[in-house]
């Protein structure tokens, strides 16, 4: 269970981890706890899976990377095998079975559109399934998970 300090801590550090010599001391001061306690709580929130990660989140495009969402429809009997082929690529970061058709949805991030096309043809060839719908974002409005905790 999250207590009120955990909730304050989560709301404080989701968007703004201090870039400083002693970030946990700074966070602790703003919440009225010690730096040791702030770090201890963050470690516990990571261990219990409430937090997935603490650190920098990069704008892939500003570093020359490009990403996309892909969808393909895979017969049920082949799902596990095809999902494994897809997940094996380090450039694939998310891969989910979803309700309806198409049923397999995954994201690819790579250095260029050409590299993504290569990966998709590789997947198509290894799985003998086509088409793979490459759903490049035409516009991105928001990519931030900053959910107010404790409502």
């Amino acid at each position: 269970m999250l207590d009120s300090i955990d909730k304050d801590l989560l709301n404080r550090i989701q968007g703004d981890f201090p870039i400083s010599v002693d970030p946990y001391g700074d966070i602790g001061r703003s919440l009225g706890i010690s730096g040791e306690e702030a770090l201890g709580r963050v470690r516990r929130l990571i261990e219990t899976g409430v937090l997935r990660k603490v650190g920098p989140f990069f704008d892939a495009r500003k570093m020359g990377y490009t990403s996309t969402l892909c969808a393909m429809d895979v017969p049920e009997a082949q799902l596990e095998a095809v999902a494994a082929i897809i997940s094996a690529y380090p450039q694939v970061t998310h891969n989910y079975l979803r309700a309806g058709h198409p049923n397999l949805w995954f994201t690819v991030i790579a250095e260029s559109r050409e590299r993504i096309d290569e990966i998709l043809s590789g997947i198509s060839k290894k799985s003998s399934i086509s088409p793979i719908h490459n759903l490049n974002a035409m516009k991105m409005f928001k990519v931030k998970v900053d959910l107010k905790v404790g409502e």
């Binding site: 870039i19 990069f58 892939a60 500003k62 969402l69 949805w105 409005f141």
Partner: protein, 163 residues
């Protein structure tokens, strides 16, 4: 990208250092740099937007958001931008994109939506439907997670020899 920024980005991707009392000192030790350069370059990368944000990512379902879904909307192309702008301003929408529709799948606006419960999610979808100006949507519930990982930028193995 400057080579020293790339070195710093590689190091800051090590999630273990952010669970230590002084993460940026850890980074400085790993890199063999002065602490001031680590802090200075990290701030500059954030100001330049290369680091979108510094902070923590929740696992929504473990932080009280039990009902999370990808919901896609069918909006006329000429209205998609307006609908996306309005949808993305909703507090429980974390991601919002316009993507191409394809044969058999007329949906073009994609949202990730987070609710406390199935009932809460239903209410949010009703709100979003009003914002999007359409009730034509589909909830693509995830049935199985095969992979979820952070991207690795500038992996060492891709570094040219001698770089």
């Amino acid at each position: 990208m400057e080579p020293r920024d790339i070195e710093l980005i590689r190091t800051l991707q090590r999630e273990d250092i952010f669970l230590m009392p002084r993460p940026f000192e850890e980074a400085a030790t790993i890199l063999g740099w002065e602490l001031e350069e680590v802090l200075g370059r990290a701030v500059a990368l954030k100001e330049a937007g290369v680091i979108r944000r510094f902070g923590a990512a929740l696992t929504p379902r473990n932080a009280g958001f039990k009902s999370n879904s990808m919901i896609v909307w069918q909006v006329d192309d000429c209205r998609a931008e307006e609908a996306g702008t309005r949808l993305s301003q909703h507090q429980r929408v974390s991601h919002c994109y316009i993507r191409p529709s394809f044969e058999g799948f007329p949906y073009n606006v994609y949202t990730m939506v987070h609710g406390n419960s199935p009932e809460d999610l239903k209410k949010i979808v009703a709100d979003l439907s009003a914002l999007a100006g359409t009730s034509s949507c589909r909830t693509l519930d995830s049935l199985k997670e095969y992979k979820k990982s952070s991207p690795v930028y500038f992996p060492k193995s891709l570094e040219p020899a001698g770089a």
